[in-house]
Symmetry: C2
């Protein structure tokens, strides 16, 4: 596992954590979209650092983790400026998926997932706008969180789509995963667990049958620790309708974010990445308005589903994190385009509504990992981590 | 002039010409879209050679020139897979314009124009689908030809848009320019010159006023050696209407040409190049049909204008090669996009109708070269070279 192609090339970025903190002794890697003071933020694109000065200070997340005692052991390869879900980077190469070396690691937090799965550090930071922590967590067999939108301070992190951008993390075990969460969310895990498990039948049905079968024992285990179980629809309008709405909103915002850089620096991109940016440039106001209305509907839907059900406990929703395990490496664009769209049918609710989601490891299909996700109402990040701990112990 | 960034990096490709030919003693450079046996054809893109085997034989043009005694002294930088008109290559860098070092060299035969203008060889091969020989000839102060479509065997040359692709060449003096032409066109310069000079007033009016003024003495000189002079419209439907039609046809064909490579290899491109490819992918059959009709009109127009006027002489048309001299290097995409479109308003008749065109050097604006072009009927390549020789001597 020496040559994972997961740390960014060049000298390894290391920063010692403060002595005596709650995360003392833990090591972590930092996705190369997140600032570490005095180290260039590469952004997964050779023309990004050219346009952006070396940061003078740490991102809030890095600063907070260092203050809590954890140490940085490297910066990790990412899809170009976070625009990707599979982890194939045409400039830096594809990080190895240690759990399925002939398959992609998932992205865009590809290198972060790779180094954690390989045991090279205890946890790693990523970002998730459209699935960029959840997907590599699923594909590499890790715990991974997309926190509530706005919960984790995003300063010092490369913006993609402000209405969807979040900073999350990946770990091999639920205890470490939760310890990091307590530091970054500023709280402690609650004692009582949610009391109602909602099974998103539309999302389950959308996954490959082999994935449904592989995740079934995990679902049973989860149901045992939560209690009441109900079948619901996540997206009555259609998962693909939600996906399309989120794609319109996120692609528009990405174009707005990156257009000044594209104009001035004419950066190099893999064709597929450039194509998606161009598509974002062509979205009409009418499409954006329609998508924003669908977002309002989706938010109302999740508020309704995830409302507190008793004074002491809420509901959580569960669904497969991805509809299939990691695809093989090096497939043609024409195949990958549809796979990306299918994946985002199961991840778009996150960017669309801002709710937190944790992917739990524990199943495989043909030897390749696939994750089970739990989703809670806005602000329930620590509740989800408590479920992850209880689930691991169960 | 040692570091022009005009030859492709790595070992210099050299091949000795056959002894005793008519081009004996002449040296030439080869645009890196044209095969030289046993040397990779780089195509101006880092992911092109990966997908294309090292050629086993020379392109027809290279073989023919070697047989005539000329020697290859290197392969030259090109815009990515010939998709560019300014000569800025995000992977290989921009070759120096020796005549105006703070400006672009023009493209896509950028390196070929650069090395000839710098005196590093006697002539150089390029390709011209939308202006890729004519524009660098204008910007670097060289003779350059876009031959009659189909006249020069294209085998062993990277295809872009088959209905528009041609192989041309650049030289500093008209004598060398014509000697190469006699070899590649298989003939000798005719004695009698064309007898009617048509001044394309729409094209002249489209050029910057400073360009019109700078070219005026050249036009006078040309009129003196030809004789009768008449004002005509090149494109009664509008230069921009012809430009749009040619862009539709050429972009569609480019997309068809490159799509299998894009799909399988997901190559890296400068954003502007990828964007144009994407635009090509979205052209409708209705747009293609309309453009093909306009092409038929344009062909009829040039047949009408350039018909023989006497038993011994034909008509030639003249216009500014480019509407302005070379733009400064490193301008933002938003500026360059409009400049590219303006340039192609003066070059699109070539791809659209297949007629030959020669750009003559001799004028400057603010010290930067700009060329005067002569256009003849299909097959009049040697006539145009004869005019170039007479013009140089006049």
């Amino acid at each position: 596992m020496d040559d994972l192609n997961a740390f960014v090339p060049g000298p390894r970025c290391t920063v010692q954590g403060a002595p005596g903190g709650t995360l003392s002794g833990l090591s972590f890697a930092v996705k190369d979209l997140i600032d570490v003071a005095a180290w260039p933020t590469g952004g997964g694109n050779p023309d990004w650092p050219r346009a952006h000065p070396v940061p003078g200070q740490h991102a809030w997340v890095v600063r907070t983790l260092l203050a809590a005692g954890a140490s940085v052991v490297g910066k990790t390869v990412t899809d170009e400026v976070s625009l990707g879900i599979l982890g194939e980077n045409a400039h830096d190469g594809t990080p190895v998926n240690p759990r399925a070396p002939d398959r992609v690691p998932g992205g865009s937090s590809s290198g972060s997932a790779s180094v954690v799965a390989a045991g090279l550090c205890d946890f790693a930071l990523g970002t998730d706008s459209g699935g960029s922590v959840r997907v590599p967590a699923s594909f590499c067999g890790l715990y991974g969180i997309r926190p509530t939108h706005g919960r984790i301070d995003f300063s010092g992190i490369t913006v993609q789509s402000p209405s969807a951008d979040t900073c999350g993390w990946l770990a091999r075990d639920a205890a470490t995963f939760a310890r990091v969460g307590e530091v970054l969310c500023g709280g402690t895990l609650p004692g009582p667990l949610p009391t109602r498990l909602l099974v998103a039948t539309d999302a389950w049905g959308f996954a490959d049958e082999a994935v449904q079968q592989a995740l079934a024992p995990m679902l049973e285990r989860l149901a045992r620790i939560i209690g009441e179980r109900r079948d619901v629809l996540l997206a009555p309008q259609g998962l693909s309708v939600w996906q399309r709405a989120q794609r319109v909103l996120q692609s528009s915002e990405s174009w707005q974010t990156f257009e000044p850089w594209l104009d001035e620096y004419n950066p190099r991109f893999a064709f597929s990445v450039a194509r998606n940016l161009v598509m974002g440039s062509m979205i009409t106001d009418a499409d954006r308005s329609a998508a924003a209305l669908m977002r309002a509907e989706a938010r109302a839907r999740l508020r309704h589903l995830l409302a507190d059900v008793t004074p002491t406990g809420g509901a959580i929703l569960c669904l497969p994190t991805t509809p299939f395990p990691a695809p093989r490496r090096g497939r043609p664009n024409s195949e990958l385009a549809f796979l990306r769209e299918r994946i985002s049918c199961l991840t778009s609710h996150g960017g669309l509504t801002g709710v937190p989601q944790v992917s739990l490891p524990g199943a495989t299909v043909e030897g390749a990992p696939v994750g089970l996700s739990i989703v809670g109402r806005q602000g329930s990040d620590l509740d989800l981590m408590a479920v992850a701990r209880a689930f691991e112990d169960a």
